[in-house]
C-alpha cells in the first residue's frame, strides 16, 4: 500500500507519516518494541524531560474514570543529561523523529534544556507549558498568553530545531494562547494536554490520587480536543498536532478533518499497545476508500471556508 502519500511537513519538521505518540504515554519508544514496529512511527514525543532528574509524585498516580483516566505522575524522569548520554543513543537510529518534551519551573529552565538538546538525533522540541501536575509554574505558563510567549521566545533563541508548543485545555479561550505562541515563534502547536480532574474514593472519603488532582485523558476528552483543534486551526497559520482521546483510525481522521496536520496517540497505547499500527493502516484505508492520494488533502476539511458562510 504505497498508493497514498502520508508524509507531512510541519513547517520544516518532516514526518514520514502523521502518527506520533504522546509524551508520557510511550516512554522513550523501546518500551513498545514488542508490540509496535517502531520504524513505522512518524514521531515519538518522549517522556517530559527536566533539567534535573525527578522522582515524581507518590502513588496512587492513576485512577480510572468513565472512558478516561486521571494521571499525576509528576514528571518522573531521569533528567536531560541522562537522556542525552544513555537514551538518545539507543533511539536515534529508529526512523521516527525523536521529539523531546521539555518542562521547567522557570523560563530559564526551558532555555537551558533547549540549549542542551541542540544535538543531532533530536528531531524537534515540544515545549510543555501545560502539565497540570507541577505545582510551580507549569499551569500558569499555559494559561497566560504572555507567560506562554516568554517561554517560547526563550527557547527560540537557543535552538534551530523545530519548536512545537503544547497547549493546555484548561483555559477559557485557547485561540488566545495559540496566537501568542505563534507570534513568539513556535513552528508547530500541539494540543491538547490533559484536563484537570479529580476522583474521590467514597469508602475512604479521600481523593484517590496521592496528588489529589490529576490530568484527565482518554476518549472522554476527545470532543473537547476536537473543538479546540478546530478553533485553533482557524486562528493561526502554523500547523497543528492534534491529540486527546485518539483510540482508532476514525478518531485520528476526525482530528485531520478538524485541522490537525499530524496526531499523537496517548492513553490508547495502554488500552491496545498495537493501536498506532492499526491507526496508520486505518488512515491509509480511509484515504484509499475515499479516493484521496495524499493525507494533506483532508487536513481541515471540516472547516467551512469563510467565504462559504452565508
Amino acid at each position: 500500500m504505497a498508493k497514498v502519500n502520508l508524509e507531512v511537513d510541519l513547517n520544516g519538521l518532516k514526518l514520514q507519516n502523521p502518527v506520533t505518540t504522546a509524551s508520557g504515554t510511550f516512554g522513550f519508544g523501546p518500551e513498545y518494541y514488542q508490540y509496535v514496529d517502531l520504524n513505522r512511527l512518524g514521531g515519538v514525543m518522549v517522556k517530559g524531560t527536566t533539567l534535573n532528574p525527578k522522582q515524581g509524585n507518590a502513588t496512587p498516580r492513576i485512577a480510572e474514570t468513565p472512558s478516561g483516566m486521571l494521571n499525576a505522575i509528576g514528571l518522573q524522569n531521569p533528567g536531560v543529561d541522562h537522556f542525552l548520554k544513555k537514551i538518545l543513543p539507543e533511539i536515534r537510529d529508529y526512523k521516527f523523529e525523536t521529539i523531546v518534551n521539555i518542562s521547567g519551573n522557570e523560563v530559564e529552565d526551558y532555555a537551558k534544556l533547549a540549549s542542551k538538546l541542540n544535538v543531532e538525533g533530536v528531531g524537534a522540541l515540544e515545549i510543555n507549558i501545560s502539565c497540570p501536575n507541577v505545582k510551580k509554574g507549569g499551569l500558569a505558563f499555559g494559561t497566560q498568553p504572555e507567560m506562554a510567549a516568554s517561554v517560547v521566545q526563550a527557547v527560540r533563541v537557543e535552538t534551530d530545531l523545530p519548536l512545537i508548543t503544547k497547549l493546555s485545555p484548561n483555559v477559557a479561550d485557547i485561540t488566545e494562547i495559540a496566537r501568542a505562541v505563534e507570534e513568539a515563534g513556535t513552528d508547530v502547536i500541539s494540543l491538547i494536554n490533559t484536563l484537570l480532574g479529580m476522583k474521590i474514593d467514597i469508602n475512604s472519603q479521600k481523593p484517590i490520587l496521592a496528588n489529589k488532582m490529576g490530568g484527565l485523558s482518554g476518549p472522554a476528552i476527545k470532543p473537547v480536543a476536537i473543538r479546540m483543534v478546530y478553533q485553533v486551526a482557524q486562528a493561526v497559520q502554523v500547523p497543528l498536532i492534534g491529540m486527546g482521546g485518539i483510540s482508532n483510525a476514525d478518531d485520528a481522521i476526525e482530528f485531520f478533518l478538524a485541522g490537525a496536520s499530524a496526531i499523537s496517540v496517548g492513553t490508547a497505547n495502554f488500552v491496545n499497545p498495537e493501536v498506532t499500527m492499526e491507526i496508520l493502516d486505518g488512515i491509509e484505508e480511509y484515504l484509499v476508500e475515499k479516493g484521496y492520494r495524499d493525507i494533506n488533502d483532508i487536513i481541515g476539511k471540516a472547516i467551512e471556508k469563510k467565504n462559504n458562510i452565508v
Binding site: Y35, P60, I62, E64, P219, N269
Partner: protein, 265 residues
Amino acid sequence: MSQRVIKEILSQEEIAPKHFKMVIDAPEIVEGAKPGQFLHLKWVDNIGGDPLLRRPISINDMDKDSGELSIIYRVLGRGTELLSRLSKGDKVDIMGPIGKGFSIPKEARKVVVVGGGMGIAPLYPIVKELLNKDREITLFLGGADEGQLLNLKDYEEMDLELKTSTVDGSHGYKGFVTDLLEEALDGADYIYTCGPEGMMEVVQEKAKKLGVKGEASLEERMGCGTGACLSCVCKIKVGTKDDWEYKKTCTQGPIFPVEEVIFNG
C-alpha cells in the same frame, strides 16, 4: 517476550463466592511464561469503551503441553464484575506474559512460601516449580475463610508442609497467617510471599529478624504494562542507608527482593 493476542475462554467457574477461575487457550503466552509473571487483560467487548484500562491478573497455572493457562480472580469492581460474566467461547485480549517472575537461587534448599488472600493466586506456579527442583517447602496460606484458600485441594496432594489459617476458623489455625511464621522461618534459606501489604510487611520484618532473604510479589495500579507510563512505581531500597528509588512494578517487578521493598511508601 510479551505479546498481544486475542484468545478464547475455555471455561469459567465460580470457585468460591466472588472468586472465579478462568481457563484460556493461549499457547503463545504459555510458551515463554515464568512463575510470578502476570497478564494485562481486556475483555474484547469493551475495546475502547468503559472500563477503559486493562486489568493486571497473575497467571495461576499453565500447562506447556496443552497451551492452556488459568487465572483466579476476585470480583472487586466494575472490571472484574464484567469479566465474571464471560463464559466459554467468549474472547479476552491478553498482553503477556509481563514482569520478571520469581527466581530460584541455588542455595534456596529449604523455602517458606506465604500467601494471603488473593495473593495466593500467583504462588501456585512457583510452588510447582520449586517441587520440580526438589526444594523443601513450607507453605502458609491465609484467608478470611476456607473458600479463600485458593488451590487448597491441589496443595493437599503435594509433597510439602501445608499450614493454613483463616480469620473465621473455618480451616486450620484461627487467626492471621503471620502468627505461625516464626518457627518455620528459623532454619529456612529463602522466602516467597504475596498478599496484602500489611501481611507482607510482617513477613518482611520476621524474615529480616532471622536473616532470611526472599522475594515478594507487589500490586500497584497499572496503566501501560510496558514500563512506559510510570504509574505503577513502588519504593525499592538502593544502596545502604535509607535511600530508595521508584521502580516499575510492571516490567521491573512485580517480584522484588522482599528485604528491599518499602511498604506503604
